[in-house]
């Protein structure tokens, strides 16, 4: 009789498909996973501790480095939290700039996901196509903020820089171009039989699981939960735009894939409307004190990042530094369901499931 043995396999922290320094200790029987244990913390930088000794404006660059694929939403969440506490009314033009920046960033973030996910699945080219479009967005945001990745663009009360001349027009041109490219994406990948077979029915969970495990973003919407903070708890000026909340019923990697691609289209819709409504002149900063001091008390706000619900909790004692700052990092919460999903799957599915959750390790580890 053949004697078989379970094998302990370390996937990561140095592995091409863990999207960073994520380690997964899996017990495998052949190629079938019997147990999976995620190990995180390799990228923990103690942002929250550091923030306790920093003024609010100084914290913003740190948030860039959490979810470095979508820095704009991170910028926004802390500014939004402080603004909520201080009751600051942000000027219209600043709000539009913020929304444009965030939605462009969301598109870029989904593109990165799309590209890397297909890389995980084994197709190399989509990655490069996605990065072509992402590069255009990054250039746009670069023009706006002066940085390509860690934008550090938003401030409490507004934004740091006004849009350079001709920027809005460039954004307006980008939207139809991106729509055209999206069609190409669907032709190249969405209809591909191999791809469909790789993701359909993989990593399936129910609506109840999604709620139970505190999933958010596309990870929750793929199970039929129609929930988007932009729509359901409108912040900023999202109530002025007409867009749909995308949700799918499947609950598998395929549904997540569809959700994200459709969300790109919704974001483009928002960008288009924001460009139309964009106020031609106006302030980009509210009148805020030079030294920002949140009033004594606490606040928790949450907004919709590309990865899900990003939240910011601030406890303030009235000083210029927060007493306690805490980020609700969507990747951290979303990753929790992974061990449950992996049992009984094979190594190839491991990659497909992990990729579909869309984690950024900077965010998981804080």
């Amino acid at each position: 009789m053949i004697r078989t043995e379970e094998m302990l396999l370390n996937v990561g922290p140095q592995h091409p498909s863990t999207h960073g320094v994520f380690r997964l200790v899996v017990k495998i029987d052949g190629e079938i996973i019997t147990e999976a244990k995620p190990v995180i913390g390799y990228l923990h930088r103690g942002t929250e501790k550091l923030a306790e000794n920093l003024q609010y404006t100084q914290i913003i660059p740190y948030t860039d480095r959490m979810d470095y694929i979508s820095s704009m939403t991170n910028n926004y969440v802390i500014c939004h939290a402080v603004e909520t506490m201080m009751g600051i009314q942000v000027p219209d033009r600043a709000e539009y700039l913020r929304v444009l920046a965030m939605e462009l960033n969301r598109v870029a973030s989904h593109l990165v996901w799309w590209g890397t996910y297909l890389l995980d699945i084994g197709a190399v080219s989509p990655f490069l196509y996605a990065f072509r479009e992402r590069e255009m967005i990054i250039n746009l945001l670069n023009e706006l903020s002066g940085a390509r990745l860690t934008f550090n663009y938003m401030r409490v009360g507004g934004v740091k820089w006004d849009a350079p001349e001709g920027w809005i027009e460039k954004v307006a041109e980008f939207v139809p171009y991106m729509r055209e490219q999206l069609k190409g994406y669907h032709q190249l990948v969405t209809g591909n039989e191999i791809f469909i077979n790789r993701v359909k029915g993989v990593g399936r969970y129910t609506k109840e699981d999604a709620l139970q495990y505190s999933l958010s973003g596309a990870n929750a919407r793929c199970t039929g939960i129609k929930w988007d903070l932009r729509k359901d708890e409108p912040y900023s000026i999202y109530d002025r735009f007409d867009f749909d909340v995308i949700s799918r019923e499947g609950g598998d990697a395929w549904a997540r894939y569809e959700c994200r691609l459709a969300e790109i289209e919704e974001s483009l819709k928002i960008i288009e409307q924001a460009v139309e409504q964009f106020p031609r002149a106006g302030e980009i900063m509210a009148k805020v004190p030079k030294i920002i001091k949140a009033p004594k008390g606490e606040a928790f706000v949450r907004i919709e990042s590309p990865r899900g619900e990003i939240g910011c909790y601030i406890a303030s004692d009235g000083k210029k530094e927060p007493y306690r700052l805490k980020f609700r990092r969507p990747s951290f919460y979303n990753l929790q369901i992974l061990p449950k999903l992996l049992v009984g799957e094979n190594i190839a599915n491991l990659i497909a499931i992990l990729g579909a959750i869309d984690i950024v390790l900077g965010e998981v580890d804080g």
Binding site: M7, P16, S17, E31, V124, N346, I347
Partner: protein, 335 residues
Amino acid sequence: MIQDLLYSSPSLANFGIFFLLATVFLFVILGFVTYAILAERKVMGFMQLRHGPNQVGGRWGLLQTVADVLKLLLKEDTIPKLADRPLFILAPAIAFAPAFMVVATIPFTDSLQFADIGVGLLYYIAVSGLTTIGIVTGSWASNNKYSLLGGMRAAAQMISYEIPLVMSVLGIILLSGSLNLNEIVEAQKDGWFIILQPIAFIVFLIASVAELNRAPFDLPEAESELVAGFHVEYSGFRWAFFMLAEYVYFFAMASLITVLFLGGWLPLPFLGFIPGAVWFALKFSVVVFLLIWFRVTFPRVRADQLMEFGWKVLLPVALANIFLTALLKELLNAF
């Protein structure tokens, strides 16, 4: 000429001539591999909005692969401490040798062929299967879990796809009545087998990509899953041997497809004034391009789907093709 030598009595001079020829042939193949790699990188580059190599050796990067090989030769030869040393060293050679051996039977033109063996096709398929042993040996000897997984995948894949590969060719053998590659080409004078045997062609193409371990069937070295698969622990020249084996098979398989389905060196009608070698090169290039195109376009299939596809789809289709061919042949003969 070679035929005569083969039939002459063995002597030291004979051995010398063959050794010399083999060496020359090896260099020709190395030259091909060099430029096949370059071509692949360039084609992939253009398909992926990149430039590909364009620094070493002029605008087209003509010396890039040469530089890469030199670098590989200079690299430190690392062998893991807990590896099975003799097997670890032996494995690349086991993998490479058959790759070189199979090329001997490919007829490039009616006169340019190394060995015209009566059962050339059978020889090719039999010998090419040996490479799997090299891969499994290497993966086992590395003492690495990823490479072990890769090796197991390779073994399973090779065995599964060898069968449809052989089965799909049976139709051709039925039509041509020979296993000799020269005769198979001659049999295509009236029509290439890609037209007469379209089903066989598709099955053979898919199975050959799987045999080559190329995307979308590159599971044994699936980068995103197994890091580098069976050659995780190999570096430097030993790794280059695996690479070499892979590309020589690439060469051999493209040639075989040309010979079996595209009529080898046979010209298109009215274009007979172009020499056969050019025709062969053209057809061969088309096949190579097609294979590169596959690699750029497709995502990777999953191991279990691969098995299912091999056994549940390709094999029955190939068997049906044999049946159909035999039936048609008998019917045509009857009337």
